[in-house]
């Protein structure tokens, strides 16, 4: 019987190779309750703490695990974005910060349960936070930025209360607990899978989840797709009810054109990483909802190595800053989709505020650039290389060509160097690239955080290798500055120094373009630059 049908079916295949029938309509019903999200990268681990985890893994973990607290959301130019300043309870029903800012007390929800049905206790929270600061995982370096460094800081008061003590009042301690890494794990389950070599069960948690989140992983195929189903008992969302979608399919589709086709044809519901040109044409057609949010916690810049000649000369850096073809670059790379960080007017020549990133009073002015080159003692210009990584070629390639063209006009000869991603990272880490473009992102975008991480020390993220003791000191001090006005003042000072020293040129904040079916609602731009599946619903 089977054999017969095989033969008839294969003859159908052979004779009508391209005559295909349309997708069966019987799937329509499950479609409405399913979110199909397509992305270029893939989920490579179920525990975002594993070194090498992707952004897609971060987003999935936000839905499979709960944290003690979560970021609220706010409107920015009519679009929903995460709100760093509004921290709400997730597993914590309420929290208190002691008046001296040294003690955080979290009271857990009585009804919170892990996905296996066992209640979430303060013991689980302690184990999870201990793991985050003790195990050799990514959470360690992140929590460090919030003065959370040792297991001694977490104390179980009673089964539903946990206390966190800080050595200094740190503004970033609480927000850190809302980031991806300090997720709360079912410690009993995890301990069962721990081994003497791996006391924190990192190997097991990479492929399994033991959380209390809104979604349960149904199938996990690294590099292909993840299917998650709704946890009906979950009630930690803002309206206190389970997530909207019964199932979420997170699928890897490497070709951006195909992702655009899928969402346009209605086969995919939501996609965030399309090419700017595709987004523009989809927006023009008007059938889909396109929500473009400037990634306000990220920056694309052109960096110069402040230790390598001739870029160790501040006037060379200033010359570059006035020779870059800003408008053309912005159009060619992003089709103007983003927030420019150039072209500001500073009436009294001083920064408008103490927020970083900020718009600098820069525009293409070749005469000024030539003057600075002359001041640097290089009136004839020089030769250098401009590097970017292959992974960013679609935006960086047209940009590099424009940089080359524009700098040629003031005598600077630029060789464009396109490097494979791993090679680029290595060279950046070894501080070998003189002149290149990169993008950065910070989960907790506060001014001191940016300056401490990206403009101080001999670390990888200090792309420009700037070494300015004064700047470092101000940034370090600002971290623990409780007074808002003082903090703002420190920010202004740092921003003024940035413009004066010009360690690197901030270009823009690219848009996060989320393209979705018109029935999808609730999309919010999140700090991890992926979709939080709990946010969205279908009308």
């Amino acid at each position: 019987m089977r054999f017969v049908s095989f033969r008839s079916a294969s003859s159908v295949l052979a004779t009508t190779a391209l005559l295909l029938i349309a997708t069966a309509p019987s799937q329509a019903q499950t479609r409405a309750e399913t979110l199909r999200y397509v992305t270029g990268a893939s989920v490579n681990t179920l525990d975002p703490n594993i070194p090498g985890s992707t952004r897609e893994s971060f987003a999935l973990s936000m839905s499979t695990y709960d944290r003690l607290v979560a970021f609220g959301r706010k409107q920015l130019n009519g679009k929903w974005v995460f709100d760093l300043d509004k921290i709400t309870g997730e597993l914590a029903e309420s929290y208190e910060v002691s008046p001296d800012g040294l003690k955080l007390t979290f009271r857990l929800r009585k009804d919170a349960k892990f996905q296996d049905g066992s209640p979430v206790t303060a013991e689980d929270v302690k184990w999870s936070l201990d793991r985050c600061v003790t195990a050799p995982i990514l959470g360690k370096a992140q929590l460090l930025t919030g003065s959370l460094t040792s297991a001694d800081q977490f104390k179980v008061v009673d089964p539903l209360t946990i206390e966190v003590t800080l050595p200094k009042p740190d503004k970033l301690a609480l927000p850190n607990l809302a980031t991806v890494y300090p997720m709360i794990i079912n410690s009993k389950v995890a301990k069962e899978h721990a081994t003497p070599d791996d006391p924190w069960a990192t190997a097991w948690l990479k492929e399994h989840t033991a959380g209390s989140g809104a979604y349960v992983v149904e199938s996990f195929k690294p590099g292909e797709q993840v299917i998650a189903k709704r946890n009906e008992a979950w009630n930690r969302g803002s309206p206190d009810k389970p997530a909207f979608f019964k199932r979420v399919i997170i699928q890897s589709v490497p070709e951006p054109a195909t992702r655009a086709n899928l969402v346009e044809r209605g086969d995919a519901d939501l996609v965030v990483d399309l090419q700017a040109s595709d987004v523009q044409s989809l927006e023009a057609k008007g059938k889909l909802k396109v929500i473009s949010t400037p990634q306000y916690n990220s920056i694309t810049f052109v960096s110069m190595n402040n230790q390598i000649p001739p870029f160790d000369n501040v006037n060379v850096r200033r010359a570059i800053a006035f020779a870059l073809p800003y408008d053309d670059m912005f159009k060619a790379a992003l089709f103007g989709r983003g927030a420019p960080l150039f072209g500001a007017t500073w009436p009294d020549g001083k920064p408008l505020n103490g927020i970083y990133p900020f718009q600098q009073p820069l525009k293409t002015d070749l005469d000024k650039a030539r003057e600075y080159l002359k001041a640097a003692g290089l009136p004839e210009g020089f030769s250098t290389t401009f590097s970017f990584n292959v992974g960013q070629a679609s935006t960086a390639e047209p940009m590099a060509a424009l940089v080359k063209e524009s700098l040629a006009k003031i005598g600077i000869k630029v060789d464009i160097q396109k490097l494979p991603d791993a090679q680029m990272s290595t060279q950046i880490n070894e501080k070998k690239l003189p002149f290149f473009t990169e993008g950065i992102v910070a989960w907790l975008p506060s001014t001191d955080y940016f300056y401490r991480n990206f403009y101080t020390g001999n670390q990888r993220w200090n792309y420009s290798s700037i070494n300015n003791p004064e700047l470092a000191a101000i940034a370090q001090e600002a971290r623990f500055e409780p007074d808002k006005a003082q903090y703002e003042e420190a920010g202004r000072k740092l921003n003024a120094m940035h413009f004066d020293l010009m360690p690197q040129v901030m270009l823009w904040q690219p848009n996060q373009d989320a393209v979705m079916a018109s029935s999808i609602e609730g999309y919010t731009y999140e700090f991890h630059r992926q979709v939080d599946y709990r946010d969205v619903s279908r009308k």
Partner: protein, 343 residues
């Protein structure tokens, strides 16, 4: 029977003699990966807060903290134990990744080769029967078009026409519609697994998904196959035995199919073998365009991120497959022309 026996002995000898070559490939790839610029540890430690400590940790995890000769010894001993290492990208053991992905690539390549052969052999024969005619020129034009259009272009074009414009094809992502449940994996070949599970509807879904990528790959290899068929048919048609067969009044069909084609098919088999091996590695673009979860796109991703273990595993797999394909070609030779087995 003796003919078959001789073929098997020859095959066995071939297999043995290819072992040193495989070993060479193993060592060469290993060294090549290490001299390529780019530090994988730095790449994978790319989180917003990954510092020196994390980089060191990854380096240790990947075994990169040891000297290259030491790494090689460990690597060879791991291979001896059937362990190809762990991929940093997917977090899975490479062996598991390859085992899951190889059937996808093989299924696609087999189907494409089948489509190519079904199209190319008749085209080649037609062209050879009327050399210089309009048919011959038509075939030549078709082949030229197939070869000069890169597979990803034809792939994107097919998607645009059959999926985007006409809506005839299913969405070009993966091996199966995301809403169809997968059959219990037995062979890993979806077309076979669905049949074993008796799920005809599922089989048809998988089949529809396969057509566009297979056709775009087939278009690219029709040319060499058709050209070889044509050339070899021309020789065969001009030979004495065909003239003799014609002169004794055998039917046209019998002359062309039984005498001429059977003799002309040997080089086609050789080329098909080579084409198959190259297709397996070269279908990376098709796999990318159609989000096909195969080994080639896996290896490319790994290469871009300097993920050593998957690249090494992939090269080893390809080398082994090449040896196997050569064997199969040898055996096919023996069957198509028993004289080959003599000596």
């Amino acid at each position: 029977m003796t003919g078959l026996g001789a073929t098997m002995v020859r095959a066995g000898r071939r297999l043995l003699s290819s072992l040193p070559a495989l070993f060479g490939v193993l060592v060469f790839t290993f060294l090549l990966m290490r001299v390529l610029p780019g530090d994988p540890a730095v790449f994978f430690a790319s989180g917003p807060n990954a510092g020196k400590e994390e980089i060191e940790q990854i380096r240790k995890q990947m075994g990169l903290d040891k000297s290259v000769p030491e790494q090689l010894v460990f690597y060879l001993s791991d291979i001896g134990h059937g362990n190809l290492g762990r991929s940093m990208m997917t977090g899975q053991p490479v062996l598991k990744d390859l085992r899951e992905r190889l059937p996808a690539s093989l299924e696609l390549t087999f189907t494409a080769l089948l489509i190519a052969l079904i199209a190319a052999v008749p085209l080649g024969v037609l062209a050879a029967l009327r050399p210089g005619s309009i048919v011959d020129h038509g075939v030549r034009l078709f082949c030229a078009l197939g070869v000069c259009v890169p597979t990803f272009v034809s792939g994107l074009l097919l998607i645009y026409v059959f999926y985007y414009l006409l809506g005839l094809a299913p969405d070009p992502t993966g091996r199966i519609d995301v809403f169809t449940s997968v059959p219990p994996p037995r062979t890993g070949f979806l077309l076979i697994d669905f049949l074993l599970a008796g799920d005809i509807e599922g089989w048809w879904t998988a089949c529809k998904q396969l057509i566009l990528p297979a056709v775009s790959m087939a278009l690219f290899v029709i040319a060499p196959l058709a050209r070889i068929t044509r050339a070899s048919m021309l020789v065969s048609l001009g030979s004495d035995f065909v003239r003799t067969a014609r002169s004794v009044g055998l039917s046209w069909r019998k002359v062309v199919v039984t005498y001429a084609l059977r003799n002309a098919i040997l080089p086609v088999i050789t080329i098909a073998g080579i084409v198959f091996s190259t297709m397996l590695g070269a279908n990376v673009l098709v796999e990318k365009v159609f989000s096909w979860p195969g080994v080639a796109s896996y290896a490319l991703d790994a290469l871009l991120s300097s993920d050593y273990a998957p690249v090494q595993g992939f090269v080893l797999l390809m080398a082994s497959l090449f040896v196997l394909v050569n064997l199969v070609v040898d055996i096919c030779y023996g069957i198509a022309d028993p004289r080959v087995s003599i000596g």
